[in-house]
Symmetry: C2
């Protein structure tokens, strides 16, 4: 896929059609209502040394969790129980963009790869965590800027090939306080940190990444109406992860992240288990 051309087409259509959160809102109350088997990993993983702990980067998937739209959470029902039925099963009704979840290129680009056919090699990646928690504490719609990436690289060296680059804003601590996590002061607006447009373009064009992740509800900051980072990431064939947990537990460590997103048929992404295998 030629990413600059795709991004241009998506952006032009967005400008023409009023590509905004209103499009989400018109679908509010959503839930109230032979592929390649193996994929080569970048050689750097051959240098992996001592993976000796697992960190869970996933929140519990729950009807009570925060969602981009209000009342968009899953429905959870008990189907059978051990007493008296002998075994226990639940049924879920759930949108693909709920809880800790993945955005795959088809989420924003018509005809792009869906999650069931997405290259599995891209789901295993060295983690980079960029800490913007200090400015996010002062300004909810703070963004990862190119300067933040440059500061990380000055301390750690260039972002490794095939990296999954996370924004750590400290927002995951608010997960169980839905209004605080959404940053809605009561007027329906959303206010939380995300990747800035220039930073996501820099990562796609100047670095060789697998994807990005955020500890908030959207790859773009809450006050975005143009979804620049979504467009840039999806148009480049990369993926995003939203609602990531516990990034502070891997910050400064060498970790390989495995993105366990089920192969939802024709999926635009979906709820996932994201695990970090931490070395040392």
């Amino acid at each position: 896929m030629c990413s600059p051309e795709v991004a241009k087409v998506v952006r032009e259509r967005a400008a023409r059609d009023g590509f905004s959160r209103r499009n989400f809102l018109k679908f509010g109350g959503m839930t109230a209502a032979g592929l390649a088997v193996a994929s080569a990993l970048p050689m750097r993983l051959a240098r992996a040394q001592a993976m000796n702990s697992v960190v869970d980067l996933s929140h519990v998937l729950s009807p009570d969790g925060p969602t981009y739209l209000p009342n968009e959470g899953p429905i959870r029902e008990t189907v059978v129980k051990v007493n008296p039925d002998g075994f226990y099963i639940q049924r879920w009704t759930i949108g693909e963009h709920t809880g800790t979840h993945v955005d795959i290129p088809a989420h924003f680009v018509d005809g792009a790869e869906t999650v069931d056919v997405y290259d599995v090699g891209l789901l295993v990646s060295p983690a980079v965590v960029i800490d913007i928690s200090e400015k996010a504490a002062a300004e909810p719609n703070a963004t990862v800027e190119v300067a933040d990436i440059e500061a990380w690289e000055a301390a750690n060296g260039e972002i490794p090939a095939g990296a999954l680059v996370f924004m750590y804003s400290g927002w995951d601590a608010k997960w169980n306080d839905v209004p605080a996590f959404r940053g809605d002061p009561g007027d329906g607006s959303l206010n939380f940190p995300g990747f800035g447009a220039e930073a996501s373009t820099f990562l796609v064009e100047q670095r060789d990444i697998h994807g990005i992740g955020v500890d908030t509800l959207s790859l773009d900051p809450g006050n975005s109406s143009t979804f620049d980072t979504h467009v840039t990431i999806c148009s480049a064939g990369k993926y995003g992860i939203e609602g990531v947990a516990n990034l502070s537990a891997i910050m400064g460590k060498s970790a390989t992240v495995v993105v366990g997103v089920p192969r939802y048929e024709a999926g635009s992404g979906g709820p996932a288990r994201v695990l970090a295998l931490v070395e040392g």
Copy 2:
């Protein structure tokens, strides 16, 4: 959890209450109608060397896939599309035991751990693949027996601590032929391979495993009405994976399997992405 006692209680209740597939059948047409963050890994992973490819052990999650009961498949709906809405999202209605999925202790043991609180360290494991495809080709309800495990150990050494032990029966090749995968000759019976009761007891009591996996619809063979392996595995606090794909691609190789099962709240397990990181 004291596994022999739990297993005894579950078995007694099963004997008393007629614990059989009839209990499943009465719920047919199901879909038609603060936790520990990090977990230490066993030391053996510190010896991991060159993980340089990823093998997808997961089938596509689809309404058309085989299920234990007929008509138990998920419902997949398009909510919004890139044209004209600007982005693409699907909604799923899905039981926890659909597609490539995990069985967690609470599936068969009242009060046992659910998937959202299950130890993440158990989700990362060295793979052992026991090949019973030859006898399964001759007898659909063939089982993994203690002798099969002993034969594997004679060739490979003792099953490593923390292993995820898979049955390879060759059944995954039938995945897209639902009647063949279910082994229903037309009379409603199910016929496919699984773990024998003695083999699962051996693994739980004589070896130190994380769980087991099968390339069929159930940990027990299709003709089981007592679900001995389910009871043994769940009572011991272990887990099972059903509907595993592509095991032949990792057979004989050194692989670490990551079980990407989302943290479904209070979940009995659920649809998962199962990935093998293969060395060498």
